[in-house]
């Protein structure tokens, strides 16, 4: 279908210094876990977006020198010729599709702990990092300043050699240039401290030197947090924020605006739980609208809606639509808008699983919506191309339409299996997503730092996307409200059976801390609940509620938000040090803490229950079990172990003769039914099986390419030839 003229503005080229950006879709720098050391992943992940129509794609933050070493978190590095060579692979791949390649030159100061290089980071003043644990920088004298600025220049020259078109001097997220600019970090009294001009001097000089070195050949960009969100003690958009943009406007070809810092960068990469689309507009939208710049402006805000994009450009908020997460979730977003395929857009759900893996430090990026993200090179997976399965003459029955089952059925359908039946016992598709997406609300009062506890409603996009795709597949049928017995499955007539029947919460308090049930725990009683029962409002909840949290992710705290928001007195007990450890990785934790504090939730960490009685819970300190506490409560919520619903699979598997007699050649179990896990991993599991349904042993994942240095192997010229499964990606 031809493009709707309404969206033409998104496809107009724009000049960035010596370079032309072919349209207004721009993948801003974001981490993927590739850096310079997994060149295949780097080239093929970014390249996939170029293939999907993005006008430019950038590296993640790219260290300019071993003094800026973020190990174990994975940054790119452009320290030497080897890095040039590895990052050139990304540039080449982007250029094949006519996209520009951007590199974000980074010096972290005290925010880079240098655990691999053992170097000493330098900083404007000797103040410990507010992000790292006890990392102090060395105070920079004039020689240090000259040295670090030369590092930027040398890195920029290497970047040009690698083939980069856009070169950043990265100052957002409170890295070194911003540390000079902000009085929160900068306590100097020389010409680099004090007045605005003095504080801006380091950044301006660095930009000037980089521009002098490569500005004729490359577009110069800067990423700038226009507001630190700390109030008058640091940069505010209406004060030094706008002033800085005006002051350095002559030195850049492109501004990339954000807010906040690395210590709480969830204010920038806002999770959907607290932030809506285009949430940075009140800050980043002021610069262009207020005529503070004459240069091109790119900005972000998890923008997935094409109409929002058009409004952003037409209203003069930004010139270019920036995206990190939406480009991961759908690398083909631009092409789908171009072709009017709006219902094929796989919208980011804002769960921040992608970010979590960077935060953990080391693992490759993942995406809940797009199971192929990060797998483009090592597994040869393409998000939009699915080659027909070698065994496509087979009929498939997928039992259970939760995240794993939906994904598996969809991919099997796209791989042209002769028939795919997705059969679900409930009346709607989605499994656990249907009730989980109702969580995350409290009382709806918008008095948090920014944003509000708007909940996990956008997670429902997991279901919507797959439902629409399945609906379009002529070889796929979805049957709801039909709970199959083993006998039904035997008689179904499918050659391949995939069991995706999910899991349930333990009702007896079985938990990861003690590996035992808890005395008196019994969620079959009317005053003890599992989390799904809280959402389903199937039992009356008393005034005083105790939540026992054992998952370390969103479940227990979401129950706390809901019940405290409804006016219950909530006591929150967990054996862990944190109330929801994984939400630190997803950047949801800071806002969550604010909400729970506001709601008056009584939190007890390092605490476990030993016995539950009507009206009272007996607890102990995990480091000193003799230290006991009692909580008088009316209702107990057991957010403890989850247990696979695998009876159907076990029953089928126990009768191999019957399987053979009925012509069932393959029987597989995926998702929570195999082992309870996060949604992102369930979807991956379903996708993986479907991608490899025609492999010799589909239950066993095929090996993936490991990008590692081979001992004694002096060359590695065939990195591209190593791409397995070149059918879809190649």
């Amino acid at each position: 279908m031809a493009r709707d003229p309404k969206y033409d503005v998104l496809f107009e080229p724009i000049q960035l210094g010596p370079k032309t950006l072919k349209n207004r879709f721009y993948q801003v720098p974001h981490c993927i876990g590739a850096g310079s050391e997994k060149p295949g992943m780097q080239a093929y992940h970014r390249g996939m977006k170029a293939e999907g129509g993005w006008g430019a794609c950038c590296t993640e933050y790219c260290s300019i020198h071993p003094e800026s070493d973020d190990t174990s978190r994975v940054s790119a590095r452009i320290w030497d010729e080897g890095d040039v060579r590895n990052l050139a692979a990304m540039c080449d791949r982007l250029h094949e599709f006519g996209a520009l390649a951007g590199i974000e030159l980074w010096y972290g100061g005290p925010h880079a702990p240098c655990m691999e290089s053992r170097a000493t980071p330098r900083g404007p003043s000797q103040i410990a990092s507010d992000f790292e644990l006890n990392i102090f920088p060395r105070y920079m004298d004039q020689d240090d300043i000259d040295t670090v600025q030369q590092m930027y220049v040398d890195a920029a020259v290497r970047a040009r050699e690698a083939g980069f078109d856009i070169i950043y001097v990265y100052g957002a997220h409170a890295y070194l240039p911003f540390q000079f600019l902000s009085p929160f970090y900068n306590r100097r009294t020389d010409k680099y401290g004090g007045s605005f001009e003095n504080r801006a001097r380091f950044w301006r000089e660095s930009l000037y030197k980089v521009r002098e070195a490569v500005g004729d050949d490359c577009a110069i960009a800067s990423r700038f947090a226009v507001d630190h969100l700390l109030g008058p003690i640091s940069i505010q958009v209406g004060e030094d924020g706008a002033r800085f943009v005006e002051y350095c406007d002559d030195l850049v070809d492109l501004w990339d605006f954000t807010v906040g810092d690395i210590a709480e960068w969830g204010q920038n990469a806002g999770p959907s739980r607290f932030f809506e689309e285009n949430h940075e507009k009140p800050y980043t939208g002021q610069l262009k609208a207020g005529n503070h710049t004459n240069k091109a402006v790119v900005g972000v805000g998890r923008i997935t809606n094409p109409d929002t994009m058009v409004a952003i450009i037409n209203s003069g908020q930004f010139d270019i639509i920036g995206a990190a997460r939406p480009s991961i979730s759908d690398p083909f977003l631009p092409q789908k808008i171009e072709e009017g395929r709006f219902d094929d857009i796989r919208e980011c759900i804002g769960c921040n699983q992608c970010i979590s893996r960077w935060e953990i430090g080391g693992p490759p990026m993942v995406c809940t919506q797009n199971a192929t993200a990060g797998e483009e090179y090592r597994r040869g997976w393409h998000p939009e191309k699915f080659h027909p399965a070698a065994n496509r003459d087979k009929g498939v029955l997928v039992v259970g339409a939760g995240p794993a089952g939906m994904e598996c059925a969809m991919v099997l359908g796209k791989r042209e299996m002769s028939a795919v039946h997705l059969v679900e016992g409930a009346r709607e598709m989605g499994g656990s997503v249907n009730w989980i997406s109702q969580m995350g609300h409290s009382d709806g009062k918008e008095n948090l730092f920014r944003g509000s506890a708007r909940g996990l409603g956008e997670w429902k996009r997991i279901v919507n996307y797959r439902q629409i795709q399945l609906d379009k597949l002529s070889n796929a049928e979805v049957h709801l409200g039909s709970r199959l017995s083993a006998e039904d499955v035997f008689n179904y007539g499918a050659e391949i059976v995939v069991v995706a029947t999910g899991c349930h919460f333990a009702t007896d308090g079985l938990n990861a801390a003690t590996h035992e049930p808890i005395e008196g725990a019994d969620a079959t009683l009317d005053w003890q609940l599992t989390p799904d029962e809280v959402v389903g409002e199937t039992k009356r909840v008393g005034k005083r509620v105790l939540i026992l949290e054992n998952e370390a992710y969103f479940m227990g705290v979401s129950v706390a938000q809901k019940l405290a928001g409804e006016g219950h007195e909530v006591t929150f007990v967990t054996q862990a040090a944190e109330i929801a450890n994984y939400m630190d990785y997803t950047l949801e934790a800071p806002m969550l803490h604010r909400d729970l504090d506001r709601l008056g939730v009584d939190i007890h960490t390092y605490t476990m229950l030993e016995k539950i009685e009507p009206g009272v819970c007996h607890a102990y300190d995990v480091w000193n079990p003799a230290h006991k506490t009692q909580f008088e409560v009316d209702t107990v919520v057991l957010c403890t172990a989850r247990i696979s619903d695998d009876e159907l699979y076990r029953e089928l598997k126990a009768d191999p003769d019957r399987l053979q007699q009925e012509g069932i050649e393959g029987l597989y179990i995926i998702g929570d039914a195999a082992a309870p896990r996060m949604i992102v991993d369930s979807i991956f599991d379903g996708h993986r099986l479907a991608r490899e349904i025609d492999s010799p042993h589909p239950e066993m994942p095929l090996p993936f390419i490991r990008e590692r240095r081979l001992w004694g192997d002096s060359t590695n010229d065939d990195y591209r030839a190593q791409l397995l499964n070149t059918v879809d990606v190649g």
Binding site: A311, G395, L397, A419, E477, H479, S482, N491, Y492, G493
Partner: protein
Amino acid sequence: MKIVVPVKQVAALDDEFELLDDGSDVDPDFVERDLNEWDAFSLEAALQLRESTGDGEVIVITIGDDEAEEALLGCLARGADRAVRIWDESLAGADPLAIARVLSAAVGRENADLVMCGVQSSDAVNGATGIALAGYLEMPHVAVIKQLDYDPASSTATVKRELEGGLVEVLRIRTPALLTIQTGINEPRYANLRAIKQAREKPLDVTTPDELGVDSGAIAAAAGSRRRELKHPERGEGAEMIDGSPAEVAARIVEIVRERMSG
């Protein structure tokens, strides 16, 4: 007992579609074909009746070209015993009365105890074929049934219809009879893969109006109407599209309501 279920393969439109140049119909490129939603319920009612009485036969009949066979195969997979497809190019674009006339010849030779039609088809929405068929067959009939109880001993059906205001009308009808079935009366079953494969082994007769003894003159005589043109409605005047953020849209709506209220 023998139950005949006339079904239709309807046209389901894509979100966006185009008409043929001569305006006679929707461009088939933008159409997907599917079993009429109402017919899934009438088939299910027939299958349940056959199952509850313990014996009998369910015959599905349709008028349509060879593409319509998919709908019949779907019915056979769900449990119908055999199928009949009637086609002749002269039936292209036939109106409900002409369709009913041809169906009456096919249904008539079956000596059915019950004929169960869907209330209407989702594409043409005439709601006429079933009742017209009852007319040709000179059968007693009840339309728009929400509940059905059949008593084999007395060969009578007690049926419920829903009227305005939620009133329920209860009727008793002696078979043979024709009933038109409303959606929601039951929960249509689906066919598993084995049943889909086995459906291809079940009898599916293909015949023509001529073979049924209905010549083109009879069809023409039965026809009551002919489609002159299919067109998009003319764009209404006075619609104001409101652009902007949700807050801006809400503000504009408030403004409009205030204007109208004060006017």
